[in-house]
């Protein structure tokens, strides 16, 4: 009996609101947009202060790697370029991700499909706990415990793979190298990447895993054919989140890495740097002009990290939706 009425425009629950609600909604909007104001201020202010640097050096700021504040009372002699630091940041963060992802994947598979049920909940909360360990503690541990050992590993690595340019070393000094900083960062981002991977692997469809078992597949067979392909983009998302965190790390890297202002791809050599530790080490006695240089460097790091994080969350969100 429902007659075919032409569908009127859809009615929404709105209508006149009491004054208090108008006030309430307004206040909440203002409060929520506070985070916009803060973010805009950060980007805006760094751009405002650093703009002169971009004007003076243009793209040179990104390509040259000399960082020389020149004569104190004659700012025109200053030369600023963060190429070495930018390359250093990306290099160390890449080493961290390359080392962390395979172990994070295996640990995630172990926790989700091999560890007994009771142990699984304990391990998950331990992972979240370790992700909260402050970076200064990782720094002091890296400085006193990891560095001596890692120097030994670098030597052995060099002795085996020395012929390969990446592992070649200009001089036989192996301390405070990007390799060691990368290893320390890998250990710091392991909890984050592992918990993202574990969450995505846990959502692999149960009936497909059963199908693999019913075909006579072993547990590893089921993981290889169903779980790992399902979790692939989730793992990529987790790795990028780890990359974002590693790019911005300051204290831990500052303690274990030698700050040298030239681009160095020989990861075992004791020379490197990253934008964050550049800012931490120079801001103290920076002249106003050098401070603007640091602002510009901060802005570049901010934009790079923002891009990596935005891409990472998009990938992880899509991974969770794809059945």
């Amino acid at each position: 009996m429902s007659t075919e009425t032409d569908v009127p425009e859809i009615r929404l629950i709105s209508g006149v609101r009491k004054r208090t609600d108008m006030l309430f909604r307004g206040a909440m909007t203002v409060g929520a947009l506070a985070s916009l104001v803060i973010l805009a201020l950060i980007a805006g202010f760094l751009l405002f202060r650093g703009f002169q640097i971009f004007a003076d050096f243009g793209l040179g700021f990104l390509t040259s790697s000399t960082w020389d504040s020149g004569d104190v009372n004659d700012p025109t002699t200053a030369r600023f370029g963060i190429a070495a630091m930018l390359v250093g940041s990306v290099l160390i963060a890449t080493i961290a991700v390359v080392v962390a992802v395979p172990f994070a994947m295996s640990a995630a598979l172990f926790i989700e499909y091999y560890a007994p049920r009771a142990v699984r909940t304990v391990l998950t909360s331990v992972l979240d706990l370790i992700a909260a360990v402050p970076s200064v503690i990782w720094g002091i541990w890296g400085y006193s415990v990891l560095m001596p050992d890692a120097e030994g590993w670098a030597k052995t690595l060099h002795s085996w793979l020395g012929w390969f340019p990446l592992f070649d070393v200009p001089a036989p000094i192996f301390g405070r190298s990007p390799f060691i900083a990368g290893l320390l960062l890998a250990m710091m981002i392991l909890p984050i990447v592992t918990s993202v991977a574990r969450e995505v692997y846990g959502q692999a469809p149960r009936d497909h895993v059963d199908a693999a078992y019913a075909l006579g597949g072993t547990r590893w067979g089921a993981l290889r054919t169903v779980v790992i392909p399902f979790g692939r983009s989730g793992l990529v998302g987790g790795a990028m989140l780890g990359l974002g965190r590693a790019l911005g790390e300051t204290v831990a890297v500052f303690l274990v890495l030698n700050l040298v202002f030239d681009v160095n791809f020989k990861i075992l050599a004791s020379a490197g740097g990253n934008v964050a530790s550049l800012i931490a080490s120079r801001f103290g006695e920076a002249s106003p002009y050098e401070l603007k240089g640091l602002m510009a460097a901060g802005l570049v790091l901010f934009l790079v990290t923002l891009l990596v994080n935005a891409a990472a969350t998009a990938v992880v969100k899509r991974a969770k939706v794809a059945v």
Binding site: M1, S2, T3, T5, V7, P8, R11, L12, I13, S14, G15, V16, R17, K18
Partner: protein, 211 residues
């Protein structure tokens, strides 16, 4: 002071023409198989959803029309829905007092009035207990008191006694009859329990058959 619903309720692909008029003191029973639009109609009367088309008017003033809409909080429609449990963080007394506080009563007056209401529904012995500790029957009595506290002009009941054990239903039915039959409140009752419909309502609208 009658409530008139004349329009189309819709949810997703499903739509149904509904036309009911409810007189104060003469409760209307709404029956029909699941998915025939009973709950959607109640939610539309309460202002929690909107009609797809047509109007709902109370005593002549339009609550939901083509270009008029009074939101739920201004409509003064009491609801006792099965899914709408009591506020878990408030005691039974504060649950009942909540409506009065919204209407602007002071804490003291609201709690006094709430205690009187709890007594009238026979639930004053649970006044200071949290909803989680109440039995189905007790929770239903408190829900009834809570809905009646702001003295609504309309009272809607969706499966009011579903979570109440069979042998305490007659008492609750008698209580409800005393509150709605012959009172100034327009009320609509949805229930699968034939006894509720036959005992409390003399007008029955079957959404199942129409359409």
């Amino acid at each position: 002071m009658s409530l008139v619903v004349d329009g189309v309720v819709a949810r997703g692909a499903f739509s149904r023409v509904v036309s009911i008029s409810i007189e104060p003191g003469r409760p209307v029973g709404l029956v029909g198989p699941n998915g025939s639009g009973k709950s959607t109609t109640l939610r539309a009367i309460a202002g929690l959803d909107r009609l797809a088309s047509g109007t709902i008017s109370l005593d002549g003033s339009v609550l939901d029309g083509a270009d008029a809409f009074v939101p739920a909080e201004l409509r003064g429609v009491g609801v006792v829905f099965q899914t709408m449990r009591l506020f878990p963080h408030l005691t039974a007394l504060d649950n009942v007092a909540f409506g009065l506080r919204c209407a602007g009563a002071s804490r003291h007056d609201a709690r006094g009035q709430a205690r009187r209401l709890l007594t009238s529904v026979g639930a004053d012995h649970v006044a200071d207990r949290r909803p989680a500790t109440l039995s189905g029957g007790e929770a239903q009595r408190v829900a009834l008191a809570r809905a009646l506290a702001p003295s609504p002009r309309v009272l809607l009941l969706d499966e009011p006694f579903a979570s109440v054990d069979a042998d305490s239903r007659p008492a609750l039915r008698a209580l409800l009859r005393s509150l709605v039959v012959g009172s100034g409140i327009c009320s609509v009752i949805v229930s699968h329990d034939r006894a509720d419909i036959s005992d409390l309502t003399d007008v029955v609208v079957d959404l199942g058959s129409a359409g």
